[in-house]
């Protein structure tokens, strides 16, 4: 009977090539199955350490991304007005000559007139280095608007962080707390891990205003009010301290909790750690005679005290950092009853969660029979584990209090003894590094015109800030200024507004790569689009005279470019996922990877990295040309990946180095290196030795291994910064000490936010109620509140947040013909009770009102939403004309962005922009601080998205 022509043995194609996915930042290994040069299908590479064969919805849909009609196909030169999408196709020679002319003029005049900002760039080891060689400090990638709060809090506290620098111990943890984790970042490793936890019966707690995805499968959903996670974590700390359920031995061994902090109000070193003449930190320790003595805090075999005032040799008082911490968190303001209302979590739940954490950490402690040697040379027969793991992401990060919130989480982990132990959070090599890592942001130009260091880095002291003689910002985005001293990823979100306002100065060229600043990557999107088209009335020129944009797709931002440099898709180029950039390692091994072209080009486009190297050679940038001025990397990025050395023997790829390809980590360039990668599935993985798998910050077996691979400079233990003395340096400067001090305007702000111990503070929109929000000391003797144009909780009672659906994490996937069938548009989701209170029925069109204006959106009730929160899927809404979508596509007609309502600035009462709408420590864009109210529409069943913005705002 059946099926005459059924062939169950049909070959799937004529070739299979491995490469690395680029459908999001997860960077999984993929196998591309080809048939006659066409992609037949893409699946996960089972041998790849990131995804172990699985592949997400985006990854499979990569085939449709590759064949998208929205691909650009030729360099474009603008011929109409900005925004009008009128271009002329030009040849690459003309495009590159034009770009080289603009950039060459700038470099001769003032390199800082180039602002080079990359978005979802996975080649920052190249792009950052290129900016350094060009000599501009104005470089950043997308971290400032993504998760720099989490990254910086981690790097300044642990020398590692959640996501790319660490992970939960998926195999051993018994209790996982997910804080503000949407279903996006590190998508497949988290899903694989959750599957393991489920199979083992570990408890998963999702602390999140929204219950979808991971929250849906968690044992417990804690519907917290956005921006109050620090308060909840503080209350958990409060409970653990009062119940004395903490691991003090862990604290004195691996952190600086026992270090003595000088108590000398008014002195230049008040709040700093007491040190001996050689600069060694001191602590009080009990001797054999039970008397306390002051000794070096890094000594071993001592019995440090964690409370009690000590007298220093000079007679001054000092107390252990732990005591300051305990005094803060044992106080009544962090008691469960005191925080319950603000958090939206009842006190009984908070107490129960604290009890569960303690029970798992201490009663279910793990003892792994693994011998290891600590950094001081002492051998241990076993590894003690506290199987409580935490993971945090955007929900913590995208608030203006996210740095301190994330530090609070890290201190909670520390008091449980749950950093890099069996069952807890674990570092991923090359992390941990010293906290903070030693590399400072570059700020001076050498004779060659290159910067003295990469433009991004870690500020350790006021001297490292990138400010002028008056203490004012030198960078266009004001990163590394007194306004945002620890802006380790830069502040891409502020470039356009600042450049347009000439604050702090004007630039000539904005060079963007993969950053959709004309749409969903901008705050205040409508105003930002207007800024890109704004002309100087005096000269008639655009306020930002030149805009070069490089991308593979016809995004909203293309419309504003003067020159468009079309990039390839990820299947058409070489690329590398470098340990010098954002690593893809796991806790048990270091990894890096490459992309290789798996299909040939069918359009006149070029890999952006090749274009950048070409431009650099045309500009004769140091490092990009040889002594005779000839291009050093004429074969493009593939050549650079292999031949470029960042330090002797250290390049972008760690695998198969040395002339014979036999060296890992350090070795001379190997001309056959890429061939070795291709043979090994386009990735390299080197396992951490068994004795080095935990306690990496103080494990000799690990540190020696890490040093051999050039991950760390020495095998000295890395001290966890329970007390962040680095912050105190800034606070002291704000108090009038030292050569580098903040401008008067910023003093109170720096004093307040550079607290060496974490604390919770309400967000700008809540400030009018609490009266303790953003401080501004210039106009009023008492710090007054600043806000996103204004009012507070009473007028805007709801928090408004976004997340990405798992099948569209990262906006470039949303025009994908398969993924858009899953969702062509977004809705505003709200709790049924919130809807009822506001007279809103499921499916009604309503107005969402914020100080900046209002947008008309369609509401859907969703029981998995905290009552005080509304939310939507981000970046599904598109602008008509982009992405080769039909004009009547739902993305254009009904889809919407919340961005229109999010001010890029915090304003004073007169509406003047005072500070970026960002974390005052790190400059992280405060996307999730938005507060709104709901207004009913007279015709709630009449469809139609509208945007109405206040005329005077922005």
């Amino acid at each position: 009977m059946p099926h005459a022509r059924l062939d169950l043995n049909k070959p799937t194609g004529d070739a299979v090539k491995t490469t690395t996915c680029y459908m999001c930042a997860c960077r999984c290994g993929i196998r591309v199955h080809l048939d006659d040069g066409r992609v037949r299908y893409i699946d996960g590479n089972p041998r790849h350490p990131v995804n172990r064969g699985v592949i997400c919805a985006k990854g499979s849909a990569g085939i449709m991304q590759h064949y998208s009609p929205a691909r650009l196909s030729k360099p474009l030169l603008r011929v109409g007005e900005r925004g009008a999408r009128e271009f002329r196709e030009i040849e690459w020679d003309e495009a590159l000559a034009l770009a080289a002319q603009w950039l060459g003029d700038i470099r001769a005049r003032n390199p800082e007139e180039l602002a080079f900002f990359t978005g979802r760039d996975q080649s920052q080891a190249l792009t950052g280095w290129w900016a350094q060689q060009f000599g501009t400090i104005n470089y950043a990638a997308h971290g400032g608007f993504c998760s720099v709060n989490m990254a910086a809090a981690g790097m300044y506290t642990l020398g590692g962080s959640f996501w790319e620098f660490g992970e939960p111990d998926w195999d051993l943890t018994r209790y996982l707390m997910l804080w503000g984790v949407a279903e996006d970042h590190d998508s497949n490793p988290i899903k694989l891990g959750l599957g393991k936890l489920k199979a083992r019966g570990a408890k998963i707690v999702a602390i999140n205003p929204v219950r979808t995805g991971y929250g849906a499968i968690a044992d417990e959903w804690v519907p917290i009010n956005p921006g109050t996670d620090g308060l909840l974590a503080g209350a958990l700390i409060h409970e653990l301290l009062h119940a004395d359920r903490i691991d003090l031995d862990y604290l004195v061994r691996y952190t600086n909790a026992h270090h003595l902090v000088i108590r000398a109000p008014g002195a230049a070193d008040d709040g700093m750690v007491a040190r001996d003449a050689d600069g060694h930190a001191l602590c009080a320790a009990r001797g054999d005679d039970a008397q306390a003595r002051i000794v070096r805090a890094d000594a071993i075999g001592i019995a440090p005290l964690v409370v009690g005032e000590a007298r220093l040799a000079d007679g001054r008082a000092a107390v252990p950092a732990f005591q300051l911490f305990a005094e803060r968190y044992m106080a009544a303001d962090y008691a469960p009853n005191a925080v319950a209302n603000a958090c939206g979590v009842d006190a009984g739940t908070i107490r129960r969660l604290a009890r569960e954490l303690a029970e798992v950490a201490f009663e279910q402690a793990i003892r792994l029979p693994q011998r290891w040697t600590d950094a001081w040379g002492r051998e241990h027969a076993e590894m003690i584990g506290r199987p409580v793991a935490m993971h945090a992401m955007r929900g913590i990060s995208a608030h203006a209090n996210g740095f301190h919130t994330c530090r609070t989480l890290h201190l909670l982990q520390m008091i449980l003894g749950a950093i890099d132990t069996p069952g807890s959070f674990r570092y991923q090599p090359p992390y941990p590094k010293s906290a903070p890592p030693p590399n400072r942001p570059g700020k001076a130009r050498k004779e060659t015109g290159a910067l003295d260091a990469g433009p991004l880095g870690y500020v350790h002291a006021p001297e490292d800030l990138v400010v002028d003689a008056h203490g004012e910002p030198r960078r266009i985005d004001k990163a590394f200024s007194w306004q945002h001293p620890f802006a380790a990823h830069g502040m891409l979100q502020n470039v356009i507004a600042n450049a347009c306002a000439g604050d702090p100065y004007r630039i000539d060229t904005l060079f963007l790569f993969m950053a959709n600043m004309g749409w969903n990557s901008a705050m205040n999107t409508s105003a930002t689009r207007a800024m890109l088209c704004e002309r100087d009335p005096a000269s008639g020129e655009y306020r930002i005279p030149h805009l070069i944009y490089a991308d593979a797709y016809d995004s909203e931002t293309v419309a504003f470019a003067d020159l468009v440099l079309p990039d390839t898709t990820y299947l058409e180029r070489h690329d590398c996922i470098s340990l010098l950039d954002r690593p893809i390692s796991d806790a048990d091994g270091a990894s890096d990877a490459i992309r290789q072209p798996v299909v040939s080009l069918d359009r006149d486009v070029r890999p952006f990295q090749d274009v950048l190297l070409d431009l650099g050679a045309r500009l004769r940038l140091p490092g990009l040309v040889d002594e005779r001025g000839a291009a050093k990397y004429p074969r493009g990025y593939a050549q650079y990946m292999v031949e470029h050395e960042r330090a002797p023997g250290v390049g972008l790829l760690a695998g198969w180095r040395g002339a014979d390809g036999a060296h890992d980590g350090v070795g001379t360039p190997n001309p056959d290196q890429l061939a070795r990668y291709v043979e090994h599935g386009c990735h390299w993985h080197r396992a951490v030795p068994a004795a080095g798998r935990y306690y990496k910050m103080a494990n000799r077996d690990y540190l020696e291994w890490a040093k051999s691979l050039a991950f760390v400079g020495s095998t000295q233990p890395i001290v966890l910064q329970f007390y962040a003395e680095t912050l105190q340096r800034f606070r002291l400067a704000a108090r009038g000490h030292g050569a580098m001090q903040p401008p008067e305007r910023d003093r109170a702000r720096v004093e307040r936010y550079f607290d060496p111990l974490p604390f919770h503070y309400p967000l700008a929109g809540e400030a009018a109620e609490g009266g303790s929000g953003e401080a501004s000391s210039q106009d009023s003797p008492r710090p007054g509140p600043l806000a996103q144009a204004g009012e507070g909780v009473k007028d805007y009672p709801l928090a408004a947040i976004t997340q990405r659906p798992m099948f569209m994490y990262h906006a470039w996937g949303s025009q994908n013909r398969w993924l858009r069938q899953i969702a062509t548009r977004n809705y505003l989701y709200l709790n049924p009770h919130t809807a009822a209170d506001n007279g809103v029925a499921d499916g009604d069109w309503i107005w969402l009102v914020a100080p900046r204006g209002r947008i008309r959106v369609q509401a859907r009730t969703h029981a998995g939403t905290a009552p005080g929160t509304v939310w939507t899927w981000n970046a599904i809404g598109k602008r008509k004309g982009a992405w080769k979508l039909a004009a009547d596509a739902p993305e254009n007609v009904d889809g919407f962005l919340l961005n229109h309502l999010i001010d890029e600035s915090l304003r004073d009462r007169d509406g003047r922009a005072r500070y970026a709408n960002a974390d005052p420590v790190t400059g992280q864009a405060a996307w999730f601080d938005l507060r709104v109210r709901i207004e009913r529409d007279a015709e709630p069943r009449r469809a139609g998205h509208r945007i109405e913005l206040a005329g005077n705002a922005g």
């Binding site: 009977m1 059946p2 099926h3 062939d7 169950l8 043995n9 049909k10 037949r40 699946d43 996960g44 995804n51 064969g53 699985v54 592949i55 997400c56 919805a57 985006k58 990854g59 499979s60 849909a61 279903e183 899903k191 694989l192 599957g195 489920k198 995805g213 849906a216 499968i217 044992d219 417990e220 409970e239 301290l241 009062h242 119940a243 004395d244 003090l248 031995d249 004195v252 075999g301 964690v306 409370v307 305990a326 009984g348 107490r351 009890r355 798992m806 099948f807 025009q815 013909r817 398969w818 993924l819 858009r820 069938q821 899953i822 029981a863 998995g864 979508l885 039909a886 009547d888 596509a889």
Partner: protein
């Protein structure tokens, strides 16, 4: 009318863990991709970049809010539910087929459609209570999940890859493939252990696929009796709380 084969010993099917499914759609898109270029493809998309994109999918994921009884009332859960052909033992979609296009394989129980015989009458779609059939408007024929029959026996693939695309892709490993006719197979054991169930058994089509229910959740409602909260062990009116650690002997 199309006749069914005698009851098959081998019953290939899927076991889908609703406790672990996060609703990410990875299975749905992997399925679409494999089958679009496979023996039963293409899976056409109408209006792919327009106002109403609408394509053929053999597997779709839905999300539902459901109430679950607890020791203290009910809790609401969000359940993600992947839906595809259940490869029933006595499928009405086959018996209703006037041409023999819809058929059940005797060797493994997989239900397939032979497009060459399909006249597009869509009786099978009406007969299937699970909504597992997808009509190809371009070709005028019916399509459905094939359990990747062109993968699972395909000797040109590595043995490890001879699994349905959805199972290979699933990032939480919530999908399992095997012989549910063999009580000792890993999938059958999983079903026994986790009390896997068939969808809508009252129709008596005897679905082969099984769903594993959400495990009991351990939240505040889980346990009617609560253990005592950790309590302050010190009289803090007499002594500041931090001084409790004054006499603690620690070692570094």
């Amino acid at each position: 009318m199309t006749t069914l084969p005698p009851p098959t010993a081998k019953k290939l099917g899927l076991v889908i863990d609703l406790d672990t499914c996060v609703g990410c759609h990875a299975c749905a898109v992997a399925c679409k991709e494999w089958n679009d270029g496979g023996e039963f493809g293409p899976l056409p998309d109408a209006d792919p970049y327009g106002a109403q994109p609408n394509g053929v999918w053999f597997n779709r994921v839905h999300s539902y809010a459901v109430e679950q009884a607890t020791g203290r009332g009910t809790r609401e859960l969000t359940v993600h539910f992947p839906r595809s052909c259940l490869h029933c033992e006595t499928p009405a979609c086959v018996t209703v087929c006037p041409t023999g296009a819809s058929y059940k394989r005797a060797e493994d129980g997989i239900v397939l459609v032979d497009a060459d015989k399909c006249i597009g009458c869509q009786l099978c779609a009406w007969a299937c209570p699970y909504g597992a059939r997808e009509f190809n408007m371009e070709r005028g024929t019916m399509q459905k999940c094939t359990l990747c029959v062109d993968r699972i026996y395909n000797e040109t693939l590595d043995e490890a890859d001879r699994q349905p695309a959805c199972v290979m892709a699933c990032p939480t490993r919530a999908r399992h493939f095997g012989d549910l006719g063999d009580a000792n197979s890993p999938v059958s054991k999983l079903v026994a252990e986790r009390e896997g169930y068939a969808l809508m058994p009252e129709y008596d089509y005897k679905p082969v696929n099984r769903y594993l229910p959400p495990r009991p959740r351990r939240d505040g409602c889980a346990d009617a009796k609560t253990k005592a909260a950790p309590t302050e062990s010190l009289d803090t009116a007499q002594l500041p709380g931090v001084l409790r650690w004054l006499d603690r002997v620690l070692s570094r």
